[in-house]
Amino acid sequence: MGKAGGDSAALINEQGLRLDGRRIDELRPIRIEVGILRNADGSAYIQFGKNKIMAAVYGPKEVHPKHSALPDKSVLRCRYHMSPFSTEERKNPAPSRREIEISKVIREALEPALMLEDYPRTAIDVFVEVLQSDGGSRCAGISAASVALADAGINMRDLVSACAAGKVAGQIVMDVDDTEDKEGQADLPIAIMPMSSQVTLLQLDGQLNDEEFHKAFNFALDGCRRVYQLQREALIGKYFGNNGGNSDGGL
């Protein structure tokens, strides 16, 4: 979050439009593709604004070392990582403290939806690679990973859909992008299991009073539900439709 005021007012113009032309309750353009990596057991690619993110799932598989296996369920492991060229300034490829924290909250956001008890003594690995980052990469990564888990055929109670809301130029807005994240006043990323409306991720940075918090929370919930539709469409397209793969090579 940046200056809690200042020139941030310009982030929303007199017509109520944001820098990239969106209304305050509008998502950025989203594109999801399923099953685009050959070796992974499941995979998905998401474009979410300028975010370009690959997610892949390997497993259920044997655990090494064996003593880290659990007798009653699968061990879910997760790595969120940014490629060095994904950011404005080159990112050191070693995992940062930020990436370690986000890996943890992504794992915890996905786990409630997974029937890990169906795969005792195994591990399931989820890899989220940010090839290009924009605001909201953790949410986009969760949404992609959830689709990749479905693509891998892991038993799930529900998909997990994620979206942030925020406060920009004094107004609550849906789906904060990079500039809004840096110049804005608050960012509230959440993830839900849409069928039960259970919240599996919630983080908050910034300053929101009670009313703003509830408004932002509802915006984020609404965003999650819209993402959910796109996730479903992508999966249906892969398994019942004809738009498989990414044959044109464009990212």
């Binding site: 007798p71 924290e101 909250v105 299991m193 919240v199 919630l202 300053q207 929101l208 009073n209 009670d210």
Partner: protein, 275 residues
């Protein structure tokens, strides 16, 4: 393998017992669901540090120390001082703690504490600048966790904030073309608000405030909100592999505001802080 099975059975029994109690509105240590343990805050316990505080929250015990040095600002924020919060669960704090670099849980703990301080604007980092783009104050808060008995988030938050409230930094004399020269004079940090974390655990269908280690062993999810003294929520973090309902999040947010006021009073008193 039998050891693992026994653990699982014992854990199930514990969880069952706890749920029965919670249904009656009670907890193992006799507290009500929205009742916190006693919080004690002692400040200036480390004379060599520019600020310090020792905090006990029940049997959870932590020490925060603040060191301040001259630093160079980040290129993209030449007009802001530096503020870094770190934490270490010392191996003497628990039979499960290991020496070595912080694990993901401790990194999360430090980062959530850091965000509470940073996002609330507790310290006016714009006033920590000695010469723009060149010399700023670098404020390091390190929290050593001495004994673990649950709810590190709130204990570490309280210790961090109390230590910052007591911090005196050396004044520097700035002459054109020269390096900053430390003087004997001390000044307080530019405090703008006092943000504090309040954490709840979901065990089954119940939310309880300020969980002990015993409760954390069976909790499904954790939710922390940091509130300031101007009516804002400044940071939030859901933890663990369970989910929370929308209502539970709303309850956690309102509880954080209410209880945050009580914590704030104790922290201010322990730090001897008068606005």
């Amino acid at each position: 393998m039998s050891a693992v099975k026994k653990t699982l059975v014992v854990e199930q029994l514990k969880r069952g017992q706890m749920n029965e109690l919670l249904a009656k509105g009670k907890r193992l240590d006799g507290r009500g669901l929205l009742e916190a343990r006693e919080l004690k805050v002692f400040s200036n316990v480390i004379e060599k540090a520019e600020g310090s505080a020792r905090v006990m929250l029940g049997n959870t015990e932590v020490i925060a120390g603040v060191k301040v040095s001259l630093g160079t600002p980040f290129p993209d924020t030449p007009d802001k001082g530096l503020l870094v919060v770190s934490a270490e669960v010392l191996p003497l704090a628990s039979p499960y703690a290991e020496p070595g670099p912080p694990d993901e849980s401790t990194i999360e703990l430090a980062r959530v504490t850091d965000r509470g301080v940073r996002e609330s604007g507790m310290i006016d980092v714009g006033k920590l600048v000695l010469r723009e783009g060149k010399w700023v104050y670098a404020v390091f808060v390190d929290v050593s966790i001495l004994n673990v008995d649950g709810n590190l988030f709130d204990a570490v938050s309280a210790a961090t904030v109390a230590a910052l409230l007591t911090t005196n930094v050396p004044k520097y004399e700035m002459k054109e073309g020269e390096e900053p020269k430390k003087t004997e004079e001390k000044i307080r940090l530019p405090i703008q608000t006092i943000p504090l974390a309040v954490t709840m655990a979901r065990i089954g269908d119940y939310l309880v405030l300020d969980p002990t280690a015993e409760e954390e062993a069976v909790m499904d999810a954790r939710i922390t909100f940091v509130t300031d003294d101007r009516g804002n929520i400044c940071a939030g973090q859901k933890g663990l592999s369970g989910s929370l309902s929308v209502d539970q999040i709303t309850l956690a947010a309102s509880t954080a505001k209410l209880k945050g006021e009580q914590v704030r009073a104790i922290v201010k008193q322990g730090a001897g802080y008068v606005q």
